[in-house]
Symmetry: C2
Amino acid sequence: MPRKRLTREESREQTRLRLLDAAAVSIAKKGLAATSVEDIAAQAGYTRGAFYSNFKSKTDLFIELLKRDHQSIQEDLQRLLDADMSSEDLQKQLTLFYAQAYRDHTSYVIWAEARLHSVRDAKFRQRLNALCLEKRDVIAYFILQFCKRMKMPLPGPAPDLALASMALIDGILYFNTSMPNELPDAAAEALLGTIFSRTFFGAQA
Amino acid sequence: MPRKRLTREESREQTRLRLLDAAAVSIAKKGLAATSVEDIAAQAGYTRGAFYSNFKSKTDLFIELLKRDHQSIQEDLQRLLDADMSSEDLQKQLTLFYAQAYRDHTSYVIWAEARLHSVRDAKFRQRLNALCLEKRDVIAYFILQFCKRMKMPLPGPAPDLALASMALIDGILYFNTSMPNELPDAAAEALLGTIFSRTFFGAQA
DNA sequence: GAATTCAAATACAACACTGTATTAGAGTTC
DNA sequence: GAACTCTAATACAGTGTTGTATTTGAATTC
């Protein structure tokens, strides 16, 4: 097997990536607090030395992890919303987005972990909020365009409606995931459909 | 000060209560994982001995804590919903309820912590879901009664609508709390008002 | 009021985690 | 290819946590 000889920079980058991936797995499985630096390093196939040589601290790594995830979510979201604005329903787009974003479950847990962490750490909260607001703005813009195109009056401030969408989808996704018998996929989708269409069209689903 | 001489049972109960209260505070502040048994005991004014003599483990205590909180929430909720069914708006009732339930912030954090924990522990998840569903049913019943009284057709299955209400309120409360400048109280209320009234009345707010 | 029973304190042994300081061994430069 | 410069491994010192085993002292029983 002709293993490529890596340059020092490439090698370092690879280590960073592996550590980040390992952290995501471990944090999703055991939680941020219960995940030790050692866990992360070991999971990635290194020792703690590698970790500290690449990150200042566990929190430091966690923030990088969130940023990375956020970036990828943002890209997916943009692509999705840009794709076909001709679509009749806001709901499907947004739902699809979430199904997409949280497809691997790891992502969901990491953000839940982040929200919880942000309750306790003001500095962290600021950073997390900044990320959330970026997402909100993308969605708000979409809602705005959508209503304009449909010649519907906005039922409220677009940014607030965007937050509500995020809140609703997130919460419903939680129930859907944690009690799939009570709220199976179909019911969750129908529920979102009802609320979205009634909210935006003001009328029948 | 004539301090009442406690019976053995009373004393034990007092210790349990103090430990539970202390745990709530500590868990809200630092998180479940970061809270040691020692922290809890010390916070309550005891040593670890007292803890282990009253609870099997930290998880054990945590579940008791949730049960206790749930019970008190359920009672508040029942009282609120039973009180004056003549009210015109579902939204105010439910919003009020949450403002009530999460009044002290500790409660919110504990439940967020619980949800996260439930992702990782199937047994725990079952127990948590049971509590959630109890709450859902109370709300669902209220929604049902409300729509009947208003002579409105239900826009969907009442239990699902109840879950959606919980999801929405929870999420919006999170934004409202963590970024009060972006979503101040008034905006959060207005937002809930818009969505609820549009969902249930199908028409203008 | 002596014997008992039980809640809670204390002592203890094992272990996990952190972060730094030092070392080894590659990659890089000349 | 020798000197160097990094990355990551290893060693280590300090601290925190857990759960059990034992002890103390107060409440209860007779």
